[in-house]
Symmetry: C2
Subunit: 100 residues, 2 copies
Amino acid sequence: MALEIAFIEVAPARHSEFELAVRRAVAEVLSKAVGFKDFQLHKGIERPNTYTFHIQWETLEDHTVGFREGPLFPQWRAIIGEFFAKPPVVEHWDSLGWNS
Amino acid sequence: MALEIAFIEVAPARHSEFELAVRRAVAEVLSKAVGFKDFQLHKGIERPNTYTFHIQWETLEDHTVGFREGPLFPQWRAIIGEFFAKPPVVEHWDSLGWNS
């Protein structure tokens, strides 16, 4: 399992509209991606104009190859890309297979 | 619900020892904190010497006041602090209350 963590800055006036767009983009696009397992949206407390996506993928390549190089990516960005105040910061993490 | 995300850099030679220490620190210390809900550990793919903790707290203050200013914090740091190659980067996030 690979966890994608993205940090996305959004202009203050567009927060509500962004949150609705994300909900639609997940339902209509991301949830159809091969290897997609889970999506969570969080909003910064210290950085109130920054959101973080946590997206669980079955494998790293399901995101980096299957999704990013496939036909769904332009649809995903068409819905949410206009809200990005700057390019998102994206990294991947291995879940170590145990919780508290 | 407040999510704490911490990024922690650990020297390569100490990864296994660190992972064991984290497991012990969560079981013996963190899990006793008031407002503690969940802990997850992930290891960087692009940054293989960096780990991230995701810690769910009932409220922000359960972490920033109750835990950090209480008697458990020195115990927590006594177990895992020696592995930090530099000071951890810690921020808090509001969970927006919906998943995919």
